[in-house]
């Protein structure tokens, strides 16, 4: 994992902790719904918080293809380079 990706992972962890109000340890291979126990509303709130953290727009259908934490990092990187 590159330094950029590691930094992004740490930022994403902070955002998720603020949404869930609990400590989380994210690993790239984790499944966001199953391993982290997020329901559909938690995923949408997480998405909203990520939008504000990175000042980007993440339409909900972009999140539909995100399964693992690594998928999320890839999606965020792509959206940030577009912005």
């Amino acid at each position: 994992m590159s330094e950029d990706q590691a930094a992004l992972l740490s930022e994403v962890s902070e955002v998720l902790e603020s949404v869930l109000n609990r400590k989380v340890e994210l690993k790239p291979e984790m499944n966001i719904v199953n391993d982290l126990g997020l329901d559909s509303i938690a995923v949408m709130n997480f998405t909203m918080a990520l939008e504000d953290k990175f000042d980007i727009s993440i339409p909900l259908h972009d999140m539909a293809s995100v399964v693992t934490v690594q998928d999320l990092l890839n999606t965020l990187s792509a959206l940030r380079s577009d912005a």
Partner: protein, 434 residues
Amino acid sequence: MSILSKFSPLAERYGRMRDSGADPFSIKFDDVLSSVEAVVNGRKTVLFGTNNYLGLTFDPHSVERSVEAIRMHGTGTTGSRIANGSYKGHEELEAALADFYGRKHCMVFSTGYQANLAMISTLVGQNDHLFLDADSHASIYDASRLGHAPVVRFRHNNPDDLAKRLNRLKDQPGDKLIVVEGIYSMLGDTAPLKEFVDVKREFGAYLLVDEAHSMGVLGEKGRGLAEREGVEDDVDFVVGTFSKSLASVGGYCVSSLDGFEILRIAARPYMFTASLPPAIVASTTAALETLRAEPQRREKLTANAERFYTGLRSAGFQVGPEANPIVAVILDKVDVAVAFWKRLVDEGMYLNLALPPATPSHQAFLRSSVSAAHTFEHIDFAVELMTRVGREFGLLPDNVTPFPARPVSAERLSARAATRPALRPAADVGAGMA
């Protein structure tokens, strides 16, 4: 393993609730006696969970017109408007609604759910953007999944947050549609519509307001929040339902946008479902006439909502932010809410139990809806009962404002109610409010 195995976590949660002795999802009314009274488990029960805002479900004007329509035009249309044709009644109802709102166009749908599904999924396409309030009703979320537009959520009732999200996409081509609700169905709070209109204008977006719970309730003429806030010209689409103030089932959308009629052959939830039957069309048209002719129902509803909301708040309950006919008591623990709900039903008061994920912030609500057909005696009975149970459950301080001033018991209410006919005369609702 079966195709249903994936529901086992849900089944387990449901099973735990049923084991506690309460099953809010399968409550059964042995008989429905009036707009505000039913028999539950053999006991006469006051209804505080019906959305029957104007108390019109037994209104003789609607009942007679509905019966007449069945005799004249049959029990069902047996098909869709597009494939099998429209009845005169459909067109008359659409014309009446367009006239009520002062708009050029109206489309009627078979349910309120389908009205949102049709409008929202069709108005925006894959090159447009859809902006939803985070606390939107399930029908709005489902519409967003049926359509092809990218969906962006904004924080509940927060026009600045919406502006921020619109700003991020301001250089994107395509149209932008903002969807908000007049009164939100869980907490009874209203949207800050004037501020949303400012944002809509700034970004050149379209605005759709779902007035399901505010039609017949807010505004001098009962047209809803947009009327009350004086911004109807800036609301491009109003969606609503017949299953609340108009006491039947179905939904509608009104608009003055040129070209609106093309949606009849573009909106799939309009095209591929059976149209409303004559009985429903007739009773709804009659109920709209009553809504327009009897503004005193709205005044009585407002007075009842104020009395109920103030009574519960004074007792020390945590309630929603404003006094509207939807009054929610907010309880943090689901098991406490379930036990509280069961106790109220056992003592002759029915209301809704709203549980996550249907509620914001994972809270549980005891959700009531007040009706114009409630008497102050009904309201006082409910406040007194909820206060007594709340104290017993240790949820309230003891030294709060006593309410009501005089004792009202369920027995007394039942004895009185039992002497009344199930079909009340039309004047009954207005009787106590001169």
